[in-house]
Amino acid sequence: MDLTALPIAEVTDEGVKSAGKAIALGVGAGLGSIGAGIGVGFIFGKEIESVARQPEMKSDLESIRWLGFALTEAVAFYTFIFGLIAFFLS
């Protein structure tokens, strides 16, 4: 994938280019991790709360917890992958 072919910006300076790539990777991975971190914390916190209220529901909640965990955690990787694409493939 050659992102430089896209008419987004015409950058000729090599230093500016690599700085932009580094910022893309840092912001992508960093902000993505913040969002997913909050989300994963929420899921486990709520699960602990509900098990404390109704301990007999523990086994039922287990599979839902992993489902929610994986769905949320993937969000961090979406941004991470796009950051990597910007960093290495452009």
Partner: protein, 302 residues
């Protein structure tokens, strides 16, 4: 108090090693030759080009064949020699079979659909699981760098997984995507199936509002294609990248040997995390979401 002291001693030794390494081996400058993305580059081992099609054999093909072969072989072998008193392997496989049958398929589909779709969902789970797990075994596949053993050029050991390449998750997702639409149309009929995309409670809405909501539903069905495939691909790729960087890639890339001493223990922690949780969890998620999509397409009350 004693545990605390031990923790401090271990942490101190860990940091002291890193500082000592920094003193002994100073930074040798940024390494421009090492390209981490080449770890995922597919070298053509046996080029096969038919017109515009590229059917060359490469390491992704090898891993795909290994994963599917191992799935078929392991499952048939264990099912042939089922014993009254199960050994450990049989117990583990029975647990996994139970998970796919009762939890993934049975928990999300009604009985008739579950019976029909269990073979597909079970095979999907085991294939992705084996594919992810083989991905964490170092195999001699890195033909870019060779190691000379008694004059014999042997490819360097490296890790790669079929699911760390977007093509394989994407093909699996396309199979899932088309099959749940076909199953929905078969269960409800062509127009009633598309009408069932609209959530209930919109009977009083104007046709324009209904059309707008229908468009949102159409977009959400297409987004499933991306989310399902990229979730599996990105998890496995990010895991491999983390292992690569923590296991020494970062130190080589930046030319700071001391960083290697700091990151190497982290590589072990991430390896255990990936093998113990992520590999199984992603297989579970992929097949569970497939079951949920099929269940959503076939159930009467949407």
């Amino acid at each position: 108090m004693r545990t605390k002291t031990k923790v401090f001693i271990v942490l101190g030794a860990y940091l002291a090693t890193a500082v000592a390494m920094l003193v002994i081996f100073p930074s040798s400058g940024k390494n421009e030759e090492f390209k981490p993305q080449n770890e995922f580059k597919l070298e053509e081992w046996l080029p096969i080009h038919i017109g515009p099609l590229d059917l060359s054999l490469n390491k992704a093909v090898l891993y795909l064949a290994l994963a599917s072969g191992l799935t078929i072989f392991a499952m048939t072998w264990i099912s042939r020699r089922m014993a009254e008193k199960p050994n450990r392997v049989q117990t583990a496989v029975e647990l996994a079979y139970d998970l796919t049958k009762n939890n993934i398929t049975g928990g999300n589909l009604d009985t008739a659909t579950a019976t029909r779709w269990f073979p597909f969902l079970g095979a999907l789970f085991f294939f992705i699981w084996f594919s992810n797990m083989i991905g964490f075994l170092p195999l001699p596949i890195n033909t870019e760098h060779t190691v000379s053993i008694f004059g014999l050029e042997v490819p360097a050991f490296a890790i790669y997984a079929a699911t760390a390449n977007i093509s394989i998750p994407l093909v699996l997702t396309l199979v899932v995507w088309f099959s749940y639409h076909v199953e929905g149309i078969r269960a409800k009929g062509f127009f009633p199936y598309f009408a069932s995309w609209l959530p209930p409670g919109l009977e009083e809405m104007s046709p324009f509002g209904k059309a707008a909501i229908f468009m949102i539903e159409v977009i959400s069905h297409f987004v499933r294609l991306i989310s399902l495939s990229v979730r599996l691909f990105a998890n496995i790729l990010a895991g491999h990248l983390l292992l690569l960087f923590m296991g020494g890639g970062l130190a080589v890339l930046l030319g700071i040997a001391a960083l290697g001493a700091l990151t190497f223990p982290l590589a072990f922690a991430f390896f255990i995390f990936e093998v113990g949780l992520v590999a199984t969890l992603q297989a579970f998620i992929f097949s569970t979401l497939t079951a949920i999509y099929i269940g959503g397409a076939t159930s009467a009350a949407h």
